[in-house]
């Protein structure tokens, strides 16, 4: 005999939560969706990777370029560890200043990660066409997510006021 406690899917980002709202699903925020984790994580990594790849010296031998691109993959990882630390310091300073005290640390980190990545995606718009495409996809996703957040906030306010 088997037993399970598997629950309905829930999402973290506003866009899938808005879609869940339209489909009559659960719109509460949760961090347990594998598709979101992998998709957003890999997309973010790609944006950061392409951003730094732009600064690689041009006109190198193909093997040197290939080597640098491999090294870059690890550099982006180190950059992520640094970014995590840098954001934690900023969050600590904000908390000391009495700001964002009610926002959970991971949520605050998420805001900073979003800001950094969006800035990098903007920089990608000046690159080659397919790199520009990646930057544009990120920016459109951010815009749709923000619009969904507004709709969710309004629908929650409507529900809270009992209308």
């Amino acid at each position: 005999m088997n037993e399970t406690n598997k629950r309905d899917p829930r999402f973290y980002f506003s866009l899938p939560r808005f879609i869940a709202l339209l489909r009559g699903g659960d719109t509460r925020r949760a961090e347990r969706n594998a598709v979101e984790a992998w998709f957003v994580g890999l997309m973010m990594y790609l944006v950061h990777y392409l951003f730094f790849a732009h600064y690689l010296p041009p006109r190198l031998a193909p093997w040197q370029t290939a080597l640098l691109l491999i090294v870059l993959a690890f550099w982006v990882w180190l950059f992520w560890l640094l970014l995590l630390y840098l954001n934690s310091v900023i969050i600590k300073l904000l908390h000391l200043g009495g700001l964002f005290r009610t926002v959970a640390t991971r949520r605050a980190q998420s805001i900073f990660w979003g800001l950094f990545t969006t800035a990098m995606a903007c920089a990608l718009l000046e690159d080659s066409p397919w790199v520009r495409e990646i930057g544009a996809i990120w920016l459109v996703a951010v815009a749709m997510n923000l619009a969904s957040a507004v709709v969710l906030a309004l629908s929650n306010a409507t529900r809270a006021s009992g209308k």
Binding site: N2, K6, R32, A37, F39, M44, W77, W80
Partner: protein
């Protein structure tokens, strides 16, 4: 000199620094950074945790006979990657109290265990046994005593014990399995008082008593202690494993309880019969879930002691 060596030991692969870093990162990391960071962290430890890598490689060679060495290196990577997810999800459960999905395979036996007056949970270094103990304590509202293999680093051991006890909200008590300790008497006493004791039955730590058997056709060592304890106390042994089945999702696998008989002078035979049943369960599980067998310390293969 020794002070600076002690400081450096913090940063060793099994040093406390990495456990503390994991706790810090769990509080900080947005959940979508996990896939990428886990991949690179796995890469890092794949190169620096050479002894663990060699041990897992040796285990894979016997679990999957005939597989190439190159493929087994990739499988070691996969095992390390699963371990990264497993320990980070244990930290998430401990620090953020995030809920996990789980499926119980053998729910009737688990219910039986939950109601048992004195029982031994026999498990392996597989999946997330730390999280499993906490879930068990939570589900059945019972205390569980978890006996772990000793950690090479004292600070890591203290950190792990504190983590487990925090994760189980006081219902999980941790003991370390060391030769010569009075632990066996404590455990026997606990079983007689109706408590549940969880032991690991796949590795022999240090000079602990062992029993030789064959797994996948190769001579291996398994700990003797759990079977002797079951025989003396009369408590049944419940084979139980917690395997990761996906993102924040686990399987709790419970197998049919093993009773160790006490038939007068044939005590060794009774133990041998119980070991044989455990061996079959372990072989079946390892063949299926080799990528979640986190046996990173020696104590399994018979050959390694002779080398």
């Amino acid at each position: 000199m020794s002070t600076s060596r002690n400081r450096l030991r913090r940063f060793a692969v099994r040093g406390v620094f990495w456990r503390q870093y994991l706790d810090w990162a769990t509080i900080q990391m947005p959940f979508y950074t996990y896939p990428v960071l886990h991949f690179f962290m796995t890469f890092f430890f794949f190169f620096f945790a050479a002894p663990a890598r060699r041990i897992v490689l040796a285990h894979l060679a016997i679990i999957l006979p005939g597989s190439s060495r190159a493929m087994n290196y990739l499988r070691v990577f996969r095992t390390f990657h699963n371990y990264a997810w497993t320990i980070s999800e244990a930290a998430i459960h401990k620090l953020i109290k995030e809920e996990f999905d789980y499926e119980i395979i053998g729910a009737a036996w688990l219910d039986q265990l939950g109601a048992a007056q004195g029982a031994i949970v026999l498990t392996a270094h597989m999946g997330n046994y730390d999280l499993g103990a906490a879930l068990f304590a939570e589900k059945f509202n019972r205390e569980i005593r978890l006996v772990r293999a000793p950690e090479p680093d004292q600070q890591t051991a203290e950190h792990l014990s504190a983590s487990l006890e925090k994760s189980g909200e006081g219902a999980v008590k941790v003991d370390y399995n060391t030769a010569g300790a009075m632990l066996s008497f404590d455990l026997l006493n606990a079983l007689r008082l109706g408590e549940i004791v969880s032991l690991q039955g796949d590795l022999v730590a240090g000079d602990l008593a062992e029993i030789r058997t064959h797994l996948f056709g190769k001579e291996v060592r398994l700990p003797n202690g759990p079977f002797v304890l079951a025989q003396v106390s009369g408590a049944p042994i419940y084979p139980l494993f917690i395997a990761r089945s996906g993102y924040r999702s686990y399987q709790i696998i419970v197998r049919e309880p093993i009773a160790v008989l006490r038939s007068g002078r044939e005590r060794a035979n009774d133990i041998a019969q119980a070991v044989e049943k455990w061996r079959q369960v372990l072989e079946q599980l390892l063949a299926k879930r080799w990528d979640q067998w986190f046996a990173f310390a020696p104590g399994f293969l018979f050959d390694e002691r002779n080398q």
